[in-house]
C-alpha cells in the first residue's frame, strides 16, 4: 500500500509537469504524424468515380473498379465534383462514365470514359489499374456485341453467355508469385510503421530521462525522509519502480490509442499489441531505475538518458527499419530491447500475427526487465542503505 502511495506521487508529479507532458505524449505523436507524412507512402490512392445511376452496365463498371486491388474507389454524383476533387488533391484520380454509356455499348456507338489524373507517378500507377479494369470490361462487352450480332440474341442474353464461356474457357494468365514475404505489405497504413518505432523510442527515452525524478527525490532529501517513516527501503524501491512503470504504461496507452484514433494507426491484434508495449515499458522502467541508482545528478541522468535512448533506438530499429540492416547489424540490434519489440510489432501489424506469434518477444522483454529491475533494486538499496 505504501509502495502504491509512492508510485502515485511519481505519476502525479509527472502529469503535473507541462514540459514532460510535451515530451511524453505530444512530441511522439507529432513525429508519428510528420514521419508518416514524409515517408509512409504505402497507402491506397483515392479514385473518384461518377457514373449514371440508372445504367446497369455503367454501375457494373463501377463495381469492377471497386473490386480492383490497390485503389480506394469513392463514388460521386456529378462529373464536375470529381474533376474539382482531383484538382484540389482530395483524389489522386477520377473516372467519369458519361450518360448514355449503356446505350452506346449495347448499340453501335462508342462510349468514351474520361480519366482525370493528377500529374506524378502515383497517377500513372492508378492509371494502369484503372485501364486494366476498363480494358477487361471493354473486351467482355465487345465479345457480347459480336455474339449478339452473330446469333441475333438480345445483348443481355449474349453477355450472360459470354460470362459463362469466360468462366470455362481456357485463358492465358501470367502467374505472378512473389518470392518471400513483402517487407512492407501494400496495405500497410501510412503511419503504421512509424507509430510502433516512435512508441518504443519514446517510452525508452522517457523512462531513462525520468530517472532524474528519482535522483531529484533523493537530492531533495525526500527519499531519506521516507526512510525515517515506518517504511522499508525495499518498499521505497518498489514504489519508485512502480511509479516509473506506471508512467511508461500510461505513456504507451496514450500514444497507442491517440495514434489509432487520430491517425488511424493499426497496431495489430489489440491484446498482444498492448502486452508487448507493457513488457517493453517494464523493461524501460527497469533501465530507468538503474539509471536513477547509478547517475549522480539529474542533469547527468537526462544527458546520458537522451544519448542512450537515441543510440538504442537507432541500433534497435526504432529509427530505421531493421530490414535495411546487414545480417551482422541485425544480430547486434537484438542486444537492444527495441529490436525485439520492433520484431513483435512487425509480426502483429504486417503479418497479422496473434499472441502466440509474439510470445517469444514478450518473453525476452520480460526476462530483460527482470534482470534490470533486480540489478537496479540492488544498487538502489545499497545507495539508500548508506
Amino acid at each position: 500500500m505504501k509502495a502504491l502511495a509512492i508510485a502515485a506521487v511519481n505519476v502525479r508529479r509527472t502529469l503535473r509537469e507541462r514540459t514532460s507532458l510535451f515530451f511524453i505524449v505530444l512530441f511522439p505523436m507529432l513525429l508519428i504524424l510528420v514521419l508518416g507524412m514524409a515517408f509512409g507512402g504505402t497507402f491506397e490512392p483515392r479514385v473518384g468515380i461518377a457514373a449514371p445511376a440508372r445504367e446497369p452496365l455503367a454501375q457494373e463498371l463501377v463495381e469492377r473498379l471497386r473490386a480492383a486491388d490497390g485503389i480506394d474507389v469513392r463514388v460521386h454524383e456529378r462529373e464536375d465534383e470529381v474533376v474539382a476533387a482531383v484538382e484540389r488533391g482530395d483524389l489522386e484520380a477520377g473516372l467519369v462514365v458519361p450518360g448514355g454509356y449503356d446505350a452506346a455499348v449495347t448499340g453501335q456507338g462508342r462510349a468514351i470514359v474520361r480519366y482525370v489524373v493528377r500529374p506524378g507517378i502515383q497517377g500513372q500507377q492508378v492509371g494502369s489499374v484503372v485501364t486494366a479494369v476498363v480494358d477487361e470490361e471493354a473486351g467482355r462487352l465487345r465479345a457480347a456485341r459480336v455474339a449478339s450480332a452473330e446469333t441475333g440474341l438480345p445483348f443481355d442474353v449474349a453477355l450472360g453467355r459470354v460470362d459463362g464461356v469466360a468462366a470455362s474457357a481456357p485463358t492465358v494468365t501470367v502467374a505472378v508469385r512473389t518470392a518471400g514475404e513483402a517487407d512492407f505489405p501494400e496495405n500497410l497504413g501510412r503511419f503504421d510503421l512509424m507509430a510502433s518505432s516512435q512508441l518504443l523510442l519514446f517510452i525508452f527515452l522517457t523512462s531513462l530521462t525520468g530517472a532524474s525524478a528519482l535522483i531529484e527525490t533523493r537530492r531533495l532529501g525526500v527519499t531519506r525522509r521516507m526512510l525515517a517513516t515506518p517504511v522499508r527501503a525495499g518498499t521505497v524501491v518498489l514504489g519508485e519502480a512502480l511509479g516509473r512503470f506506471a508512467v511508461a504504461v500510461l505513456q504507451g496507452v496514450i500514444i497507442m490509442s491517440g495514434a489509432a484514433l487520430v491517425f488511424g494507426v493499426d497496431w495489430g491484434a489489440p491484446l498482444p499489441a498492448v502486452l508487448l508495449m507493457v513488457a517493453f515499458a517494464l523493461l524501460a522502467s527497469g533501465a530507468g531505475l538503474l539509471m536513477g541508482a547509478v547517475a549522480r545528478t539529474s542533469e547527468q541522468a537526462v544527458a546520458v538518458g537522451v544519448l542512450l535512448g537515441m543510440a538504442f533506438g537507432a541500433l534497435g530499429g526504432a529509427m530505421m527499419p531493421l530490414e535495411l540492416f546487414s545480417r551482422t547489424m541485425r544480430a547486434v540490434a537484438h542486444l537492444t530491447p527495441h529490436a525485439w519489440a520492433v520484431d513483435g510489432y512487425a509480426e502483429l501489424v504486417r503479418r497479422g500475427g496473434g499472441l502466440l506469434d509474439v510470445l517469444p518477444q514478450i518473453g525476452v522483454l520480460i526476462a530483460g526487465a527482470a534482470a534490470l529491475l533486480a540489478l537496479a533494486s540492488w544498487r538502489l538499496h545499497r545507495v539508500l542503505a548508506n
Binding site: 505504501k2 502511495a5 508529479r13 532529501g221 531519506r224 525522509r225 526512510l227 525515517a228 527501503a233 548508506n386
Partner: protein
C-alpha cells in the same frame, strides 16, 4: 508497595560512532532523554549533530553503539520503531511541485495513517503550523519560513511521543523563527519529548531542559543550562569587534592577567575573564599596543557561549 513508574526513557543512545572515510564524525556519543523532556544538542557547524540525529532517526547506519526509542532498539532495518519518532531533517525535505496538503497527505500515508485519519490529521496539522490558508499552493511558492513550518508539520502527523528537530531555524527570518520556537515550546508543554539541535545558544537556553554540548563528534558536557554555566565558574565573556592582526593580538591577550581563554573570529575576539570589568582596561591597552582598532566591546554574564569557549577554546559561531 510503591507504584512503579515507567522509567524507560523516550530515547537512549549509547556509544554512537560513525565515520565517513577517514573522518570520525561521531565518536562515542551517549545520552538519554526522559519522557517529556526537551534535550538540546548544541555545537558548531560540523560538530556531528546531524550525524547523531540521522542515526537516532534510523536513516543512517551507526558503525557502533545503539539507539533505543521507548525501550525499542532502532536501526535502519526496524521500520516499526520509526513510527514512534517525528523526524524533521535540517534541510527542507518536501516535494516543491506538490501542494502543502499533498505533501502532508503523502507522508501521512507513509506513517501508516488510514485515508480518513490522514485527512483529519492533515487538517489539524495545517492549523497547528498556520498554513491552512496556503494548503493548496505548491510548496515551491512558499517562503522560507513557511517551508520550515511545513517541514516540521510532517514530523507531527502521526502524533509521535518523540520529536527530533535538526536546526529548524537556520535561514529563517526572525518572526518565523520565533513562531517555530514558540510551537516547539507548546509541543514540549503538551508532553512531547524533543531532541533539538542548534548552534544558537539562545535557542538552547530558551527551549531545553538539558543541553549536551557537542564538538568534533564528542559530547564534551551535559546538564541543565545552570549546571553548564556553573562549569565556567565566575567568569565573564568579553566580545570585541576589532580590526587588525587579531591572531597576533590574541597571543598577547593570553598573557594578560585574568584572561582565561581567547578565541579569534572574523573581525571578532572572544575572551573569558575572571572578572571582565576589572580586566577590561588592560585588555584594551594590550590591543592598542598590538595595533588593533576596537570598534565595540560587550561584556556578558556566563552563558552557553562562554561554556563552549571554556570547554573547547572555540567560539560556537565562526
Amino acid at each position: 508497595m510503591a507504584v512503579r513508574m515507567d522509567v524507560t526513557p523516550a530515547l537512549r543512545c549509547r556509544g554512537l560512532r560513525r565515520r565517513y572515510g577517514d573522518l570520525i564524525a561521531v565518536d562515542g556519543v551517549s545520552f538519554e532523554i526522559a519522557l517529556g523532556e526537551t534535550y538540546g544538542l548544541l555545537g558548531p557547524n560540523g560538530a556531528g549533530k546531524t550525524t547523531v540525529i540521522s542515526m537516532v532517526a534510523g536513516v543512517l547506519r551507526a558503525d557502533a553503539g545503539e539507539v533505543s526509542v521507548a525501550g525499542q532498539p532502532m536501526t535502519p532495518r526496524t521500520p516499526a520503531v520509526k513510527a514512534r519518532i517525528g523526524y524533521v531533517p535540517q534541510d527542507v525535505a518536501l516535494y516543491p511541485d506538490l501542494s502543502g496538503r499533498e505533501n502532508l497527505r503523502f507522508f501521512a500515508r507513509l506513517y501508516g495513517l488510514s485515508r480518513a485519519e490522514a485527512r483529519s490529521r492533515v487538517a489539524e496539522v495545517l492549523e497547528t503550523i498556520g498554513l491552512a490558508e496556503r494548503a493548496r499552493d505548491p510548496v515551491g511558492e512558499y517562503s522560507g519560513g513557511m517551508k520550515r513550518r511545513l517541514n516540521i508539520g510532517v514530523g507531527l502527523l502521526h502524533q509521535p511521543r518523540l520529536l527530533i528537530l535538526d536546526e529548524p531555524t537556520v535561514g529563517v527570518d526572525p518572526q518565523s523563527r520565533n513562531a517555530i520556537l514558540a510551537s516547539v515550546e507548546a509541543l514540549a508543554t503538551g508532553g512531547m519529548a524533543v531532541l533539538y539541535t542548534t548552534h544558537y545558544m539562545e535557542e538552547a537556553q530558551r527551549l531545553c531542559d538539558r543541553v549536551g554540548v557537542i564538538d568534533n563528534g564528542r559530547l564534551v558536557a551535559e546538564g541543565t543550562v545552570r549546571e553548564l554555566t556553573a562549569l565556567v565558574g565566575e567568569h565573564d565573556r568579553v566580545v570585541l569587534a576589532a580590526d587588525g592582526d587579531l591572531p597576533a593580538a590574541a597571543e598577547k591577550l593570553r598573557t594578560v592577567a585574568g584572561v582565561r581563554e581567547v578565541s579569534v573570529g572574523a573581525g571578532r575576539l572572544e575572551l573569558l575573564c575572571g572578572d571582565g570589568r576589572a580586566a577590561l582596561p588592560e585588555i584594551l591597552a594590550c590591543l592598542a599596543s598590538a595595533g588593533v582598532a576596537v570598534r565595540s566591546v560587550e561584556l556578558r554574564e556566563p552563558d552557553l557561549e562562554a561554556v563552549f569557549l571554556h570547554l573547547t577554546g572555540k567560539s560556537l559561531r565562526d
